[in-house]
C-alpha cells in the first residue's frame, strides 16, 4: 500500500526539494570556489617568486663564471694540461682572482681542474672565511669529495687556445646549494616559506622539513595544514629551484568567509523551514478544519460551520462551505416541510371527509326537523342554535383544510403589486360596508419583482385587509405600502383601527385562537403558514387605540 503523506509534509518536501537543496548546493559550490581562489592566488605568487629567484641566481652565476673563465684563458694552465706535467719551471702558481667580498667565496665549495683524460689535476677548496685562492696539485681527491656533499657540479671546458676547438681539460665547479638557497630566501620572502635547491634531475640538495617528493609541484598536506609546491629549472647553472608555501594564510580568509556563509545559509534554511512550517501549519490547519467539517457534513451534521481565519482562497472556501451547508440545510428543511405539508394535507383531507359526512347528515336531519316544527319560538331557537353550531363546526373544518393546504405554493417571480391590487379591490366592499377608507396603494420600491406565488400572496393580503376592516370604525383609514428594505421587498398592511391588546397580540398566529366570537382562529395562522411557504417573514405590531401594522418581508427577485 502506497504511503500517503500529509499535505503539510508534501509542502515542506516541496520547499526542501525546490529551494533549500539547490541553495545548499550553491553554498557548497561557493565554498569550494573560495578555496580554489585562495589556491590560485598562492600558485601565482609562488610562480612569480620562483621566476625572480631564478633570475637572481642566474645573474649571480653569470658574474661568478666570468671570474672562472679567466682561469681557462691562463696560458700556463694550458701548457701544463697539454704537457701533462704538474709544474713547469718558470710557471707561476695557478691563482683565482677572488675579491674578499666576492660571492664566489660563499657560493663555490671547491674547484677541480681535470685534464683531457678527466684526471683530476688541481683543486681548491673554498670556505667563506678563507682568502686562499691558489690551486694545489691533486694528491688525494678523497678529502675533496667530501665537499661534493650538498653541492652541485658545473663544468666549464678548457680549449687549447682562445679560438681553438680542441678540448684539453675542464674546470669542475661545485656550487653550494645552501648558499644559493639563501639567495632565494631573500627574494621569495613573504611568499614561500620553504625554498630548496636541487640538481638538474630534481634531486634536492638542501634539507626540507617534509617529504622531498612533496616539492614536485602541487598541493600536499603537512603539519596539519595544506601546502602548495612549485618548481623552476635553470639551464645555467643546471639546477632546480623548488618552493613551497602554506595555503592556509591565503585560503583561511576565504574559508572563514565560506564558513560564515555556510552558517548564515544554515540559519537561513532553518528560518525558511520555520516560516514554512508556520505558514503550512496555518494553511493545513484551515484545510484540516475544512476537511473535518466536510466529513461531519457527510455524516449528517449539517450544523457544522467553519470560522474563516483569512480572506484568501481558503477563507473564501470556508465561506462557500458555510453557504453550501446552509443551502443544503434549507433545501432539506424545505423538502421535509413539503413532505410534512403534503402528509398533513392528506390527513386533514381524510379527516374532513370523515367529519363532513356525518355533519352533513346531521344538518339535513335537523333542517328537515326544523321544517316540521311548530311555531314554538323556544324550540325553533334551540334548533337554530344547533344548526349554527354545525355551521361553526363546518367553518372550522374548512379553515383547518385551508390551513393544511396553505403550505402548497408554486414559487416563481411575481410582481407584488398585482396580487396586492387584486386583494385591495376584493376588500373594498367590506371597507365600504363599514364606512372605513382604504387608501390607494403606495409603492416606493423601484422594482417590485419578488419570489412568491400570486394567488397565495393575494389570499394573505386579502385576509389581512379583512381583519383590518373588522377592527375599524367609519372614517378610519387603512392601506398597503410596498417598499424595499435590506434587499427584500416589504408589503405592509396598516390600519388606524382599534388595535390589538398585547395579550392577544402574542397569540394571534396560534391556530384556533380568536378574540372574535365568530372567528375560527385560523385566518392569521393560515397567513403565517403561507408567508413561510413563500420564503418570507411576518411581523406584527399593534397598539390599542392607534392601529395595527403587519409587515410581510419577501425575497427580492432582482
Amino acid at each position: 500500500m502506497a504511503r500517503s503523506f500529509s499535505l503539510r509534509t508534501k509542502f515542506l518536501l516541496t520547499v526542501l526539494g525546490g529551494a533549500l537543496i539547490p541553495l545548499s548546493l550553491l553554498g557548497v559550490w561557493l565554498n569550494r570556489g573560495t578555496e580554489r581562489s585562495g589556491e590560485a592566488l598562492v600558485r601565482t605568487r609562488l610562480d612569480s617568486a620562483l621566476i625572480q629567484l631564478a633570475v637572481a641566481i642566474g645573474s649571480r652565476w653569470t658574474r661568478e663564471r666570468s671570474v672562472l673563465l679567466s682561469l681557462t684563458e691562463d696560458e700556463g694552465l694550458r701548457r701544463r694540461l697539454i704537457t701533462g706535467s704538474a709544474t713547469t719551471t718558470g710557471d707561476l702558481p695557478l691563482v683565482i682572482a677572488m675579491a674578499a667580498d666576492s660571492d664566489l667565496r660563499h657560493d663555490v665549495a671547491g674547484i677541480l681542474i681535470r685534464d683531457a683524460q678527466a684526471r683530476a689535476r688541481w683543486s681548491l677548496e673554498i670556505s667563506g672565511d678563507t682568502a686562499q685562492s691558489q690551486l694545489a696539485p691533486v694528491s688525494d681527491t678523497t678529502a675533496f669529495a667530501a665537499l661534493r656533499s650538498g653541492a652541485l657540479p658545473v663544468t666549464i671546458p678548457i680549449y687549447e687556445s682562445a679560438a681553438g676547438s680542441q678540448r684539453i681539460g675542464a674546470i669542475e665547479v661545485w656550487l653550494r646549494a645552501s648558499s644559493l638557497q639563501s639567495v632565494g630566501a631573500e627574494r621569495a620572502a613573504g611568499v614561500a616559506t620553504v625554498i630548496a635547491i636541487g640538481d638538474s634531475n630534481g634531486t634536492l640538495l638542501t634539507p626540507v622539513p617534509f617529504d622531498p617528493a612533496s616539492l614536485s609541484g602541487g598541493p600536499f598536506g603537512w603539519a596539519g595544514g595544506r601546502w602548495l609546491s612549485a618548481q623552476q629549472r635553470l639551464e645555467d647553472p643546471p639546477l632546480t629551484i623548488a618552493a613551497a608555501a602554506s595555503l592556509d594564510p591565503f585560503t583561511q580568509p576565504f574559508a572563514h568567509a565560506a564558513r560564515v556563509g555556510a552558517w548564515m545559509l544554515l540559519v537561513m534554511i532553518l528560518a525558511v523551514l520555520l516560516v514554512t512550517w508556520s505558514i503550512s501549519g496555518r494553511l493545513t490547519r484551515s484545510l484540516q478544519q475544512l476537511a473535518a467539517a466536510a466529513d461531519a457534513v457527510s455524516h449528517g451534521d449539517l450544523d457544522r460551520r467553519i470560522e474563516p481565519s483569512s480572506n484568501d482562497e481558503i477563507g473564501r472556501a470556508a465561506l462557500a462551505f458555510n453557504t453550501m451547508t446552509e443551502n443544503l440545510r434549507r433545501t432539506l428543511r424545505l423538502l421535509s416541510e413539503r413532505e410534512s405539508v403534503a402528509a398533513v394535507g392528506e390527513f386533514a383531507s381524510i379527516l374532513a371527509h370523515e367529519i363532513r359526512n356525518p355533519l352533513g347528515a346531521m344538518r339535513l336531519r335537523l333542517q328537515s326537523l326544523e321544517e316540521r316544527l311548530g311555531e314554538d319560538p323556544r324550540t325553533r331557537a334551540q334548533m337554530g342554535h344547533a344548526l349554527s353550531d354545525i355551521g361553526r363546526l363546518e367553518a372550522t373544518v374548512a379553515g383547518a383544510l385551508q390551513l393544511s393546504r396553505s403550505g402548497r405554493v408554486t414559487l416563481g417571480t411575481i410582481d407584488v403589486r398585482g396580487p396586492v391590487n387584486v386583494a385591495m379591490q376584493q376588500a373594498q366592499a367590506e371597507f365600504d360596508r363599514r364606512g372605513a377608507v382604504l387608501d390607494d396603494l403606495e409603492c416606493t420600491a423601484a422594482s417590485t419583482a419578488a419570489r412568491g406565488d400570486s394567488a397565495a400572496l393575494e389570499r394573505v393580503v386579502l385576509n389581512l385587509l379583512l381583519n383590518a376592516a373588522q377592527a375599524m370604525q367609519a372614517g378610519q383609514h387603512a392601506g398597503v405600502l410596498i417598499e424595499p428594505r435590506n434587499g427584500r421587498i416589504m408589503v405592509q398592511v396598516w390600519d388606524r383601527g382599534s388595535g390589538i391588546a398585547p395579550e392577544v397580540l402574542n397569540r394571534v398566529f396560534e391556530p384556533f385562537y380568536s378574540a372574535k366570537p365568530e372567528g375560527t382562529g385560523l385566518g392569521l395562522a393560515i397567513v403565517k403558514q403561507v408567508v413561510a411557504a413563500l420564503g418570507g417573514e411576518l411581523d406584527i405590531n399593534s397598539e390599542v387605540g392607534k392601529g395595527t401594522l403587519v409587515s410581510i418581508s419577501l425575497v427580492s427577485a432582482t
Binding site: I355, R356, N357, P358, L359, G360, A361, L364, Q367
Partner: protein, 133 residues
Amino acid sequence: MTTRLLIVDDDRSVREALQDALGDEYDLRLAESGEQALELTASSAPDIVLSDVRMPGLDGLALLAMLRARAPLAPVIMMSAYDDPATIGNALRGGAAEFLAKPLDLRAVRNAVTRALGRRRSDEEGSTRATPR
C-alpha cells in the same frame, strides 16, 4: 308524476338523512355504490342523479361518465366532502350539472335538484322539438 331521484353515497347516514329529508317530495332510489347505481339505472332510469364523488369501487366520476353515456338526459349532481378546486373542476368538466360541497345543506340540495329538474325539462323539450314526427 313524481320525480325519480337516484341517491348514490357509500355513507349510510348521508343516504338515510337525504331519504328522510326528501322522501316525501321525490321518488327516491338509494344506492351505496357506483355499481349498484348502474343496476338501478338499468331497471328504472332516474330523472335526476345525486352522487358522491369518492366511493370504493366505481367512484362518482366514473359513474358520471357512464351515466352521461347511458342516460344523457338525466342531470347528475355531484357532491363531496373534498371541495378542493381539482375535484370540483373534474366533476364539472365531466358533465355534472352541479357540485354540492359537504356537509350538505337541505336548501342547497333542494335548489340544486330544482335547477337540475328545470334543465332536464328544457332539455327534453328541446329534444322533442328537434325530433320530426
